[in-house]
Every structure is written in structure tokens, then in C-alpha cells.
């Protein structure tokens, strides 16, 4: 008798829960779209903020995982995410072969961070030559005369330099090594530019987060991270001399100056390298970051919601971007991107964006 009562009670409870969940599920379905993206850790702070703001306004959920540009490209090619994000853009042939469309979302700067006693943010000077030598292992101590030459006012300790690079495949690495590749012939011969290279020296951290963690823990270390990581974790970023010979402190103006000169109209698939740009105020290690989506979308509702998120971010996301020191794209470029959507992105043969 007791057992039958128990079973009856459980069935009743289950029925009530199901009934309650039903209408709730129906109501939630209106804004219950989840868009999944994965890729670069470079823009992750910005995408996370945009996603949070967008969810508050519209209700659609954007789930972005910062797993690195290489993984982002792999995941979108495998079809496990709705959009991929990468700092290392794909060339137009790769895009056409995979059936993907690529467009920039924002640009940012890669900065060097150091952990040396007495050195605070914006006080340490580096030149392209010294930077390349440090990462090649040619300059291995902080009291090296070539470093002293650039920093006559600082007393640097007799401490070996620990180089910190990325252990995983990374668009930030791609931007940084593209820069080193351009300014140092030795680097070009020894390592080259790619999302992952054979580093002549140093230890590897996982993600921008891993590199910042290592630099913070190891005394006498130097690493490269996206500017937002350095600013938000109050790390000591350095100055760098640019092509025009000016010693610049990284800031959003310098990133914007570098991005402004880019010729987007003549870039197939928006493929653009923004390192070592000319201009007095151009930060030498700037990079744009891109989104990859399929030209032929299977789920029209989700695809439209996705494009609406991107449009909202490109149109209304500028204040958030500037706050985190990412460069909001100019309106002319955003108009070009919208045209690309209407031309290229289709679902069942119908253009999704009008």
C-alpha cells in the first residue's frame, strides 16, 4: 500500500513539473536562441562584454569560448560552432575552399609585459632590434648594454630574461611573429610567422591568460599579450619604437592610428596585416580580429540572429570597445561588411541580410 502511494505521489509530482515547465518553455522559446562561437583569446574580453550587453537588451545568448585562433578555425571548419573567431585571417583561397565568409570585428594592440622590480607600466623602452634579440635569445640578461642604451634612467638588475610565449596555437602569436618577421631578418630565418612557431627560447603559457599568469609569477620575465589583458590585470606594459622612429606608449589612439591607414577595399576576404604600419602615432604591433561564418547557413533563424548580434556590436558596441581599448571599426568599413553579408550569406538560397 505504502509503495503504491509513493509511486502515485512521484507520478503526480512529475506531471505537475512537466505542466509547469511546458508554458515556461514556450515563453522562453521566443528569445531562447543560443549562438555558439569559439576562437581567439585576443578579443575575448570584448566579445564577452558585448555578449553580456546584448543578452540584456535582446535576450539572445551568445556563448563564446576563448580557445585560440587555430582551434577556432578548426571548430568552424568542423561545424561544431556557429561562428569562429581568429586573429590570423584566412586567405581568400582557403575561404572559398571551405565555403566561409570572413570579416573583421575590431582591432587591438599586442603589447609586451615585463616583470622586473622597479619597472612600471609605460616606463620601459624597447626597440624592434632589441625585442627581436630578446625573443631570439641573443640578449639574455636585463642588464645588457643594449637595453641600458634605451633606458638610461632605469637601474636594471643582473637577472636572466625569461621569455614567455604562447604554448598553444594563437592569433596573438600570429600578429606578434608577423611583426618580428617583418623587422628582423634573423627572426624570419629562424622562426618565421605563424600561429605557432618553433620558439628559440622561453616558456609557453596557455592563452593570453596563461602568458599573463606566467609573467606575473616569474621574476625577470617578458611576454606578449593583447592590450586588454595588460590593462585589466595592471601589468607593466612597455613602450616600443615604431617605423617612424617614435617611442610610443600603447593606447587606443595608437591602435586606431595603425588601423586607420589600412586599405580594406582592396583586401579580398578582408585579409589584412596591420603590423609595422607607417605613421607617427601608429602602434607597431596592431592586428584586426576576424569572424568566420559559413556562406550557406542551414538554420536561417539562428543565422539571422547571429548577423543581428554582429550588426548590433558593430553599430552600438563602440563605447564598450573603447573602454576596453579595442578599436571600433569606422562606419565606412561597417557598411562594407553589411554589403558582404547581403551578398555572401545565404540560407536555402535566400540572402539573409537585406
Amino acid at each position: 500500500m505504502k509503495k503504491q502511494l509513493l509511486i502515485a505521489g512521484l507520478v503526480a509530482a512529475a506531471a505537475i513539473l512537466a505542466a509547469a515547465a511546458g508554458p515556461a518553455a514556450m515563453a522562453a522559446e521566443k528569445t531562447d536562441v543560443t549562438i555558439r562561437g569559439a576562437g581567439a583569446s585576443f578579443p575575448y574580453p570584448l566579445y564577452a562584454q558585448w555578449a553580456a550587453d546584448y543578452e540584456k537588451v535582446i535576450g539572445a545568448k551568445i556563448d563564446y569560448q576563448s580557445i585560440g585562433s587555430g582551434a577556432g578555425i578548426q571548430q568552424i571548419k568542423a561545424g561544431t560552432v556557429d561562428f569562429g573567431a581568429t586573429d590570423a585571417p584566412l586567405k581568400i583561397d582557403d575561404l572559398n575552399k571551405a565555403g566561409l565568409v570572413q570579416f573583421p570585428m575590431t582591432a587591438g594592440g599586442v603589447v609586451l609585459i615585463v616583470n622586473v622590480k622597479g619597472v612600471t607600466a609605460g616606463k620601459f623602452n624597447l626597440s624592434p632590434f632589441v625585442l627581436a634579440q630578446v625573443f631570439l635569445g641573443g640578449i639574455s640578461n636585463w642588464n645588457d648594454p643594449k637595453i641600458k642604451e634605451l633606458n638610461p634612467d632605469l637601474t636594471l638588475p643582473d637577472l636572466p630574461i625569461t621569455v614567455v610565449h604562447r604554448a598553444d596555437s594563437s592569433g596573438t602569436t600570429w600578429i606578434f611573429t608577423s611583426y618580428l618577421d617583418k623587422v628582423s631578418k634573423t627572426w624570419h630565418e629562424k622562426a618565421g610567422a605563424d600561429k605557432a612557431v618553433s620558439w628559440p627560447t622561453g616558456v609557453g603559457g596557455k592563452g593570453n591568460e596563461g602568458v599573463s599568469a606566467y609573467v606575473q609569477r616569474v621574476d625577470g620575465s617578458i611576454g606578449y599579450v593583447e592590450y586588454a589583458y595588460a590593462a585589466q590585470n595592471s601589468l607593466a606594459y612597455t613602450n616600443l619604437k615604431n617605423q617612424a622612429g617614435k617611442m610610443l606608449t600603447p593606447s587606443i589612439d595608437t591602435f586606431q592610428a595603425a588601423a586607420a591607414n589600412a586599405d580594406w577595399k582592396n583586401a579580398p576576404g578582408y585579409y589584412m596585416v596591420l603590423v609595422d604600419e607607417p605613421g607617427d602615432n601608429s602602434w607597431p604591433i596592431t592586428g584586426a580580429t576576424f569572424i568566420l561564418i559559413y556562406k550557406d547557413q542551414t538554420d536561417a533563424v539562428k543565422a539571422k540572429a547571429m548577423l543581428e548580434f554582429f550588426n548590433w556590436s558593430l553599430t552600438n558596441g563602440a563605447p564598450t570597445a573603447t573602454k576596453l581599448a579595442y578599436v571600433p571599426l569606422p562606419e565606412s568599413l561597417v557598411k562594407m561588411i553589411r554589403e558582404t553579408w547581403s551578398k555572401e550569406v545565404k540560407a536555402v538560397g535566400q540572402a539573409l541580410w537585406k
Binding site: 587555430g70 578548426q74 598553444d168 610567422a193 612557431v197 618553433s198 609557453g204 609569477r217 616569474v218 625577470g220
Partner: protein, 327 residues
Amino acid sequence: MAIIDQVSGTTASYAPKSIEKASVERKLDLAFKWFTAAAALFIALIMAGIVANLIRFSLPAMKAFGLKFLADSTWNPVTERFGAASSIYGTLVSTALAVVIAVPLSLAIALFLVELAHPAVSRVVGGAIELLAAIPSIIFGMWGLFVFAPFVAKYIEPPLHSTLGWLPLFQGPPMGIGMITAGMILALMILPYITAITRDVLQMVPPVIKESAAGIGSTKWEVTWNVSLPYGMSGILGAIFLGLGRAVGETMAVTFVIGNDHRIAASLFAAGNTIASTLANEFAEASEDTYRSALIELGLVLFLITMVFQVVAHLWLRRVQKTSGRR
């Protein structure tokens, strides 16, 4: 069929029910045998499947690099030239370090818990050691990076460098992250396993033997060294190989603190990488075929290393059991 009860002389008809029951029981026994055989075969098939897949997907890399793969320490995704040497070296060195640190400690702890401690203390400390085994490895990794690595950089590496710095093992800048920290964290992780098993093994030494030894005048140390340890040697060896097996494949804790550098360095202070840490870091993003195939070949190498350790453990145990008269 009638059955005559021999004692009381009465007859009873057990026949149909008991024979039926016996045949049902026999069928159940057969079903039990087949079911357990199927479960065992299932595992064997999965194992074979995994190995077959490992070999199949590493064929491109095997064709590209051949046996050179095992001796080459280059790891260049740009020129697509890969070599497992630095990963194999890192795996073996970090495991060796872990075993060298953990085994004496575990033996000491187990001996303390069994022979020397008050039963209440033994219970509490034993419980704490077992809790150590329950800590997830990624927590060890995070603790290692945030707490242990700076500690090592400040209090362990400098004294080692100043006293033993003439050895190439202890040269180089004290970064805190590197082979020595990875080895120490691995030691902490395998310590509870070795301790728990050793403690059980030592508790199984018959008290009669220990008392006999004490009766002819042995000290506690002599009883331990000459009686308990030889008696439990095969069990202790088994425990050590269990710990070793765990250390070889340990991934997350090592990835955080080993520094991820594809280089063979003589110094323990230097960064390195293990097969497991390389796979954890690079597999998700390896998009080119040769890259991915090289990583899978690394996985195959790790599997072979583990297999070799298993075989060595097996042979060693048999030899010990032979000399101790158990076989």
C-alpha cells in the same frame, strides 16, 4: 522417481522440482560465465580498437618522419617538422623525479602509520593521505602555478643552485616553473597511492613473524628492514609501479607548471614538456594533417612507454616473488 530417505526410511518425491532447479542453476551459471567473458572481451576489443586507431591516424606522420621521429627534438609547426625526443625526455625525467621523491617518502609514511604511530594518529593521518588522492589534478596544477612555483623559485631553487650548482642538473635561472616543480607536484600526486597500498601490504605481514624476530632480540628497525619489507616487497613494488603509471600519463598538473618548451635541457630548472602536456596544449588547434598526425603518433609513443613499464613491472614482480619463495 522416488527417493528413499536412508535415515528414516521414508520416501519422498523431490525429483522433478530439484532436477529442474539444478538445470536452471546450471543454465544460470553458464549465462554468468558467458556474460563475464563478454564483458572482458568487450574491454579487450575496445583496447584493440583504440590502438588500431592510434596506429591508423599516426601513419601519415610515420610515413613523413620514420623512426627519426623518436630522436628528433625539433617541433616546428611552420616548417611542419616534428620530433618526439623532447616530449619523451620530459615524460621520463618528470616521472623519474616523481618516483625518486615519492617512494622514500611513501615508505617512511607507511612505516610510520603501521609500525610506530598510535592507532588514533595512524587513522587520522591515513585519512588525510587518502584525501590527498581525491584532489583533482587540475587543482594541483593551479595550486602549483599560483602557490608552489613562486615558493620553489624563492626557497628551493636558489639553495640548490648555490650548493649543487656545479652539477649541470642545477644550473640556469630559478624560474619556479620547470622540470623540478613538475616532478615535485607529480610526487605529491602519486604519494597517496603508494602510501595507501604500502600501508595495507605492511599491515598484512603476519604478526607471528614480526614477534619471532623481536623475540630473538631484533630492534624495531631490524624487524622492519629484515622482516616486514622483504615480506611485502612484491606488494610495495606493485604500489610503486601503480604510482609510476599515474605519473607517466598525468596531464593537467604538469601542463601548468612545466613551462611547455620543446627542448631537451640538462638542467632541472629549465622548462620542458611531456607527451601529455604537449597533447593537452596543442591538439585542439592542430589543423594541418601532418601536425595532427604527429600529435597522435606522440600518443601512440606514450601508450608504448606505458606498455613497456607494465611488462617490466610484471617481470620484476615475478622475479621478486621467485626469490622470496612465493612461486
